[in-house]
């Protein structure tokens, strides 16, 4: 495995692949956005901000009707 592949790259690759495999009714952009927030949260930081951010991101996509 090349040195420059980071843990972030791997997680995102997994999530996006799963999204396509599951034909999930959400966009790649939303998956990336939610992961960016949850990555921040993994060390117990900014929990409320992360939950609120996740909620807003999902609602925003649902309301916009993107890829649904």
């Amino acid at each position: 495995m090349p040195e420059e592949v980071t843990a972030d790259d791997i997680v995102l690759d997994i999530l996006l692949t799963l999204r396509h495999e599951h034909q999930a009714p959400i966009s790649d952009r939303l998956v990336r956005e939610i992961y960016a927030l949850q990555k921040l949260h993994q060390f117990e930081a900014e929990r409320d901000k992360v939950i609120l951010g996740t909620k807003r991101a999902v609602e925003s996509e649902v309301d916009a009707g993107d890829e649904m």
Partner: protein
Amino acid sequence: MRLNKITFKNFMPYRREQSVVFSSGSRNVVVVYGDNMRGKTSFLNAIRFAFFGYATARHLRNIDRINLINDEAKAIGDWTLSVSVEVETASAVYELRRELRPLQHVAHPTSDADLHETFSMRKDGVPVTGKDRAFEMNQLMPEGISRFFLFDGELLQEYEILVRDTESAPKIKQAIEHVLGVPALTKGGDEIRTLLNQAQERQADDLKQLRSLTSQAEQQRTLQKQIHTLREAQARQRAEYDKLEARASDLQQRLESMSRAVDLARQLHEMESELKLINGQITSARVRRADLLQDAWRDLIEPQTVLVRRGLEEERDEHLAKVRSNAVTLSQIDTVRKSLAASECVTCDQTLKPSATARLVDRLKDLEHALAHSQTGLDRVSQLSNQIEQLAKIRGLGLADRVIEAERQLRGLLVSRTSTQNKIAEVRQALREFETDAVERVRAEREQVLTLAASIEREMGTRAADIAGRTRKLDQISRMLSRNPEARGHRSSRLVAAYGALDRIFTAGVDILRDRQRQRVEDYASSAFSQLTSEQDFKRLSINENYGLTIIDEKGREVPERSAGAEQIVAISLIDGLNKAGRRGGPIVMDTPFGRLDWVHRKNVLSFLPEMAEQVVLLVHEGEMERERDLPLLKHRISKVYRINRISSRESEIVLEHEEFDS
């Protein structure tokens, strides 16, 4: 992130305020030498305390804060402690400072409850507070991953045991998964699940008004209530379980400190034998010195005898010159007398005139006078020659160097004896603190606590399975409702669909991520292992579910038994694997990392370490890393060498020995 400097006061054995400066770049290694019990682990704990507010003993048990304050300071009523660390990232310089002091009106704290802790952070000189501080701390050094970068070599050796141990394995696995980024998915999944539940509740409210879906909406509502009740009960049980686990952990710590009594007794026995040996050596050294001194007086007085002899030789030479001069005078007197008796000059045969006769008479008087006043003689010359000869017999035997060496050895032995006597006194004092009959009581209580905890854990497992079953059912209903054309007109159903999709992706992603990261750790660790091991038959490492590593030989077989040294090599390989697979760089501080490594492995590790991290701090004792032999291997990578000196049994100091170590 890199460490710039640490300053501490009254922290464990470090009483007076003292600092250690770190380094990075091409010279990224700092070595701190210290004998056992002098404060190497305390140094590591000072860093840990500055970042996270706790210090750990063996098996990752926390040390009571009151015990972090230096004993000598406490003895004179100073109950304050401070540690500050300066760290630097690509964008800013941070100062973290943590202090302990007694609560107001508490003169002599007796427990942690009597102490007040303050923690401050400055970023580029500006104070950072509240949530911002928590955020910055997690960017700098997340606590979950610190275990593998601020580590104790002794713990490394026990790594495999910890992975197998039912109590420790989950904690170790959790820490490793922190490094690998798994919590982003597990915690993310939990949060998404919470939001999904909220959306499902809203969906149930919305859909119960639709006549065709009333029954499903009602069922959905009932399941939500049941799950909610079960989760509340589970949370209560979890709190109870955590309490029991903390109690078991405390009791385990006490048991370990008690088992230390056995170690101490063994140490005492060894030191008493050593003292006996030293006493014997002192006696022999004294006898040897006395033997040498019997003849060494010659060496001591030889310089004096040489001086005296030279004086006597000069005196003898003067006397000899006078004897020769007197002989000439006597010859002249004889000539004058003969001339006067014959009234003619014995040289030219001419008759003496009266005036010449008078002059000769005067001349005779002068010569006789000179001869009479010349105090010398051959006897004196002979006497002096005898003395010179006697003194010449006193020659040194060249024993001075041997006497000095014997004296030096004796002094060294006396110092060793004092040091050993002090250590014996310390160990005896430590032994007095153990009560042997208390061990059984603590063990029995721990067993009770563990039994109760296991029972609660089983109940929690049953309840979790119940929750999972009901949740699956709820999800099925929600999905079915979301697909219903009537239901899809409602926003809540679209939200349920979106959250449900995210939930499935994050949940499925956890296992895939674990597998991939495990494979990467295995690859990186195997690569490190092949550079570190000296055993040609060992080809790679294989990783298991708990991140335990097994050595695989050239025929693809597992190596079942491995030495303590191999254990350490495997653990260091794991650290490198974790660093490369999941971490964003930073320091590695290693306490006693070479304890059980032979010379070849030590050499391999020393060559490997500087490349392992941005900064490497090695806390070592002379026994595991010899200056003359081992330091030159790192000479172009070492920026500083420090030494921990003993001031007393309860106080140490760190001094800088070398900078830019090159030889």
